[in-house]
C-alpha cells in the first residue's frame, strides 16, 4: 500500500474543475468539462457539492469584484432538476441583488448544445469590510484560471481528505488544497462535506443508493481549527428519496457550529455509489 500524497503537494481543488471563467458586464460566465471523479459514479451528473464549488467560485468572484473585497458565502442552495446530457457545461452567474453589504448571485448550469439549464444555484455573499484593508485579489484568481486542468485519479471526496469517522459522520481537515482565498475551508468544499455526511448516514440507514439533488447550505462561521465534522440525520426516507439534515462543527474548537444544511436525495437502484 502506497503512502498518501502529502496534502501540501496536492493541486488546489479548483484546478480539477477545468474552470474557464470570464467576467462580463453584470454576469460572469464559464465553461467546464466535468471530469469523471467529480461526478456521481456512472453518471454525467456532477455531484451536488461539485456544483456548489462551481457556483461558489463563479458567483463569489462576481460578488467579490462587485464589492472589491473578498465576499464570504452566507448561504448557498443547489437544485438539480434534470439529468445532464454532456459533461461539458456552460455556467452563467448573474446578480439577483447587488447591495452594499450583501449580494445575491444566481448560477445556471446548462449542458453544451442545450439552452435550458439542468441545475441552478443561488448564493448570498457578504462584503468583508473596507476594500483598502482587504482587497479581493482578482489577479490571483486569473493566474489560477490559467493553470492546466489537474486530472483526478480518485473521487474528489477522497482527494479532499474527507473520511468517515462513524456511521453518520465524516470529517475534513483544513489543508492548502481545500481552502479559499481567506484561508478557511472553501464553501463548496463544505457543501461536499455535507453531501458526504448525508450519503454516509443514509447508506448506513437503508443500504440503498442515494443521489443528492438538492442542497441548502447555511454558513454560520468558518472552521478555523479543524477538522470540520459533519453529521447527517435522515428526517424522512421513502421510495422516492429522502430529506437529510446535516450539522458541521469545528471539532477542534469545542464543536462550534459552522454549517447547517438540508439535503434532498433521490433513490437510485442498487447499493450506495450507484449511478443517477
Amino acid at each position: 500500500m502506497s503512502e498518501p500524497t502529502p496534502t501540501h503537494d496536492l493541486p488546489h481543488f479548483s484546478e480539477h474543475l477545468d474552470f474557464r471563467w470570464e467576467s462580463g458586464d453584470g454576469s460572469f460566465t464559464a465553461r467546464a468539462e466535468v471530469q469523471e471523479h467529480l461526478r456521481v459514479p456512472g453518471s454525467l451528473l456532477p455531484r451536488a457539492g461539485v456544483l456548489a464549488m462551481y457556483a461558489d467560485n463563479l458567483g463569489g468572484f462576481m460578488c467579490s469584484v462587485g464589492f472589491a473585497t473578498p465576499a464570504p458565502t452566507v448561504d448557498l442552495s443547489v437544485h438539480v432538476f434534470r439529468r445532464p446530457v454532456s459533461p461539458v457545461l456552460h455556467l452563467e452567474s448573474r446578480f439577483l441583488r447587488r447591495g452594499r453589504s450583501v449580494s445575491v448571485a444566481e448560477t445556471w448550469f446548462t449542458c453544451e448544445g442545450e439552452s435550458d439549464p439542468f441545475a441552478t444555484a443561488v448564493a448570498s455573499h457578504m462584503a468583508t469590510g473596507d476594500p483598502a484593508e482587504s482587497a479581493f485579489d482578482l489577479e490571483h484568481a486569473k493566474r489560477r484560471r490559467a493553470k492546466p486542468t489537474a486530472m483526478l485519479d480518485e473521487p474528489i471526496a477522497a482527494r479532499a481528505g474527507i473520511r468517515a469517522v462513524g456511521d453518520h459522520t465524516v470529517e475534513l481537515a483544513p489543508a492548502a488544497h481545500v481552502i479559499n482565498g481567506i484561508g478557511t475551508l472553501h464553501g463548496g468544499m463544505l457543501a461536499l462535506l455535507a453531501e458526504e455526511a448525508c450519503i454516509v448516514s443514509l447508506a448506513g440507514a437503508d443500504g440503498r443508493g442515494h443521489v443528492v439533488t438538492g442542497l441548502d447550505v447555511r454558513y454560520l462561521s468558518s472552521p478555523r481549527v479543524g477538522p470540520a465534522r459533519a453529521t447527517g440525520t435522515a428526517l424522512r426516507s421513502d421510495d422516492a428519496g429522502t430529506h437529510c439534515w446535516v450539522e458541521i462543527v469545528d471539532a477542534g474548537d469545542g464543536d462550534r457550529p459552522c454549517v447547517h444544511a438540508f439535503a434532498t436525495t433521490r433513490t437510485v437502484p442498487g447499493p450506495p455509489g450507484s449511478s443517477a
Partner: protein, 273 residues
C-alpha cells in the same frame, strides 16, 4: 351604505400563541381551513412560511436589536401533517453583528419529530427603522383575537390571476410586516399560488382550477427588495414536471415601482394521489 371595514391582520387567521425566551420561541397555531390545501387539513407550505417568517423575525429582532428584513427563507416539508394545528420551535443558528440565521421546526403537538423545517436569514441595517413596532408580550399576545377567514383566500388577499402562472397581490396593511411592507411569508404565499396556476395550466392549458394535484414541499425564497408600492406580481415558470413532481422558478416584482425585482424563488412540488 356602510364604510368598508379594514380586514384584521392576516396573521389573526393562524390563531398564534407563543412564548419567547433566551433560547428562541416556542409556538403553536391552528390554521384557518382556507390556509390548508383544498379539501384537506394539511397546511399549505406557504402558510408555514408565514409562521416561520413571523417567528424567526421576532427571534431575529432580539438577536440583532432591530426589526430586520428577511433576506432568504427556505422551507422543507418532508412528511404530510394531517391536522391544521401545528407546534413550532424557532432558535437562532447564528447571531452575528449584521446577520442572524434562524431555524424553525414544525411538529405535531405532543410529538417531537419534525415534519417540516424552515431556515431564514435576516440582515440588520444598523439603522433604526422609522416604523414604530411594539414587541408583543405574554400580556399582550400578538395578532389576537384569532379570527375566521370569512371569504376566499384569494379575495381576502386581493390575489388576481393575470395570466396562467402570473398573479398579482396589492400591498395592504393587513398583510404587512413590522417594517410596513408585505410580509415575507405572504410573498411566499403569492409564489405558491403562482406555481399552482402554472402547473394547472401546464397540465390542462387554458382550463382547470388553480390547485392541481400538486403539493408544494419545498420553497427557497430570496428576498431581494421590499414591496413598497405594489402590487406585487409573481410569474412562475415550470423547469421540470413529471409524474413524481415538479420544479419551478418564480420571480416577483413590484409592479408599481417599475417592475423592480423583489423576490426570486425555487419551488419543489410532489404529486398527490
Amino acid at each position: 351604505m356602510t364604510a368598508a371595514t379594514a380586514p384584521p391582520h392576516f396573521l389573526t387567521h393562524f390563531a398564534i400563541s407563543w412564548e419567547l425566551d433566551a433560547a428562541g420561541m416556542t409556538g403553536g397555531a391552528t390554521l384557518d381551513p382556507q390556509l390548508c390545501l383544498p379539501g384537506s387539513s394539511t397546511p399549505r407550505a406557504a402558510a408555514l412560511a408565514v409562521l416561520a417568517d413571523n417567528a424567526a423575525g421576532y427571534v431575529g429582532a432580539f438577536a440583532l436589536d432591530e426589526i430586520a428584513p428577511t433576506i432568504d427563507l427556505s422551507l422543507h416539508v418532508f412528511r404530510t401533517p394531517s391536522a391544521p394545528t401545528v407546534a413550532y420551535k424557532c432558535r437562532p443558528l447564528r447571531r452575528g453583528r449584521r446577520v442572524a440565521v434562524l431555524e424553525t421546526w414544525f411538529t405535531t403537538p405532543g410529538h417531537a419529530e419534525p415534519w417540516a423545517v424552515s431556515v431564514a436569514t435576516f440582515l440588520g441595517t444598523g439603522r433604526p427603522d422609522p416604523v414604530i413596532h411594539v414587541m408583543p408580550t405574554a400580556d399582550e399576545p400578538p395578532f389576537t383575537p384569532a379570527s375566521e377567514l370569512d371569504e376566499p383566500l384569494d379575495r381576502r388577499l386581493g390575489i388576481t390571476v393575470l395570466a396562467p402562472g402570473v398573479l398579482g397581490l396589492p400591498r395592504r396593511d393587513h398583510v404587512s410586516n413590522g417594517r410596513g411592507t408585505v410580509q415575507g411569508g405572504i410573498v411566499a404565499l403569492l409564489i405558491e399560488r403562482a406555481c399552482e396556476s402554472a402547473l394547472a395550466d401546464a397540465r390542462d392549458p387554458g382550463g382547470g382550477p388553480i390547485g392541481d394535484a400538486q403539493v408544494v414541499t419545498g420553497l427557497d425564497v430570496r428576498y431581494l427588495g421590499a414591496v413598497r408600492r405594489g402590487p406585487a406580481r409573481a410569474e412562475a415558470s415550470v423547469l421540470r414536471d413529471d409524474d413524481g413532481g415538479s420544479h419551478l422558478w418564480v420571480t416577483v416584482v413590484d409592479a408599481g415601482d417599475d417592475d423592480r425585482l423583489v423576490a426570486h424563488a425555487f419551488v419543489t412540488t410532489r404529486s398527490t394521489p
